[in-house]
């Protein structure tokens, strides 16, 4: 039975800029995969065409049929997670197993306050 999941240490989903994000990726594949990528990235959602940028990434070649691997990322100072009327910016840790493709994601919030910046609530 195939499965792929991303687990963050202590189940944390909110982080401050400049901090450290630690977690592990656990997988069981139906066929021997070629690569396992774990990426820290942000992407936009909303009215505008999606922008996305990979901030950091670890790649395992020939990771094996199943496994459990820890990872750690140094979080950048920006951009913050925010939500506005037209645009939202989200941070995510995404694991991608290939081939065949399996994807697992864990969304996080990156901001100084630990909460997503709400642009709709500003004066």
């Amino acid at each position: 039975m195939k499965s792929l999941r991303v687990e963050l240490n202590e189940g944390r989903t909110t982080y401050r800029p400049g901090g450290e994000l630690k977690g592990r990726v656990v997988w069981t594949a139906a066929e021997i995969p070629e690569t396992l990528q774990v990426s820290l990235l942000w992407f936009t959602k909303g009215r505008g065409t999606e922008d996305a940028e990979i901030v950091d990434q670890v790649v395992l070649h020939a990771p094996g049929l199943s496994g459990d691997r820890a990872f750690s990322f140094r979080l950048p100072l920006s951009p913050y997670s925010f939500s506005g009327r037209l645009i939202s910016l989200l941070w995510v840790v995404e694991a991608v197993l290939r081939e065949p493709e399996e994807i697992a994601r864990q969304e996080i919030i990156l901001s100084p306050s630990g909460e997503e910046i709400d642009l709709t609530g500003m004066p």
Partner: protein, 553 residues
Amino acid sequence: MLGLSLFFGLFLFMGLLFTFFLVREGLTTLNTYRWVDTPCRILESGVEIRDSNETPYRFIVQYNYEYKGERYVDSTYRRSYDGGGDYTKAFRLTRAYPAGGEAVCFVNPGNPQEAVLKREPPWMLLFIFLPLVFVAIGGGGLYAVWSKRWKSKSITSRASKKDPVRKEKKAKLLLGVFLLFMLLGGGFFWGLCLTPLKKIVTAGSRLEVPCTVRSSQVRSHEGDDSTTYSVDILYRYEVEGETYLSNRYGFIGGSSSGYHGKAAIVKQHAPGTRTVCYVAPEDPADAVLRKDFHPIYLLLLIPPVFFLIGLAGVYGQMKQLRAAPGQDRFLPADARHDEGFSVSESGPVTLKPSASPLMKWVGSIIFCLFWNGIVSVFVVQAWQAWKAGHTDWFLTIFLIPFVLVGLGSLLLVLYFFLALFNPRPRVTLGSVSLRLGDSTSLEWSVKGRRGGIRAFTIKLEGREEATYRRGTDTRTDKNVFVSLPVVVFDHGLPTGSGSAELNIPGGAMHSFTATHNKIVWYLKVHGEIARWPDIEDEYLLAIQPLPLERIQA
């Protein structure tokens, strides 16, 4: 996937086919540069008038030459030459290669029976990049369709990597594209537009000479989708005892849709008609029937527009390449310290508006000229058809919204012209190195006539900008998410200067720039003036995220 594969496959196939033909032709042309220069004697030289819509006037020549002791006769002027629609060009060749004169021809050493008087210019090979663009689109598209990466549902596959080197490569690639625009626009302008423009400008110096129409007709030119028409009036005139023929009607040739207008012109110039033509005093072979301005001449301004687009693009990409890596994520593209600020970041800085009143006015003029220039060509056609009693209702109704936009653009030019005389605000900040939660001093002043200002405000605003495609259009939606007053005068402007405190909200989002989505901060200066364009200026700010020490505190 099958449909996309066929689509991109066709692009690839056509691109490769055209590349093949261009390369083959180019190599054959280059080969003639190895042919041997040989003296030759012109036996015959003249202009053949043929019954052909595309190439009615052809320079015909016969010459002899000697190569390795053998005598040969040939009649090839240039390999790909088969005449044209301009009589004067063919006539000039008879002057360049007069019967009985000597010339130099180029003989094929591998086949001495083959010779030419003029070799093709090799610059045709420069056009090879055009079909290569189709090859790139086709090949790239097929790769994208069949690439497993493209079929991936992961965000990772869609994301770009934070790679300053890659961004620099992209900026350099775009720089190359815009340089190409400049070269093409400049090249076309130099090669095709400069000469007619010079003639239009010096039209007043032309000599009015009596001429007689020898033949006249409307020539039709079959295109892929439609047929276009051109006026071909061949007339005879004399200058200093010498007889010339010309078929130039105006300063530029070409064909266009609209048969009736051209038929009316030909009817007015039936064979035998005596009229006047206008001859260039320095070149009697250069004559036109009509020397007044025609809106179609505005098409000559299209290549310079391409040149200007290329120039603007080159400027933009050079700015990107000069920017410090990692900074462009915070700084709006037109608010970098070398653009928006007059001194270094740490001291007081006088801000520059994102678009000056002069830039707005010039921009409105360029748009107005471009838009009305193109629209006027069709308006003239519709008007000529109406005058001839063949009103083209579809064209007339179709043109209405375009004409309205054109009229609106004229009003806009007037509006921005009046705004040039507005009082000019000036904003100086204590520091532009601003972060969330920071405060700095703001000094403002207004120079010029303040008496008409009914209300004056300076606000700090934050705005979301989201760009997306809808069909073939690219749109940008904007939303102001915060507007904080900094300076407010509701009843006139009693003083010409003042100061205030600028406070950046601590819990807001910093400046952010991505390809399609932005968070932009700016100071908005608004001065309401009765019965006159208002003062409207925006001064971009770069609000940076909190530094590490403030987050950890």
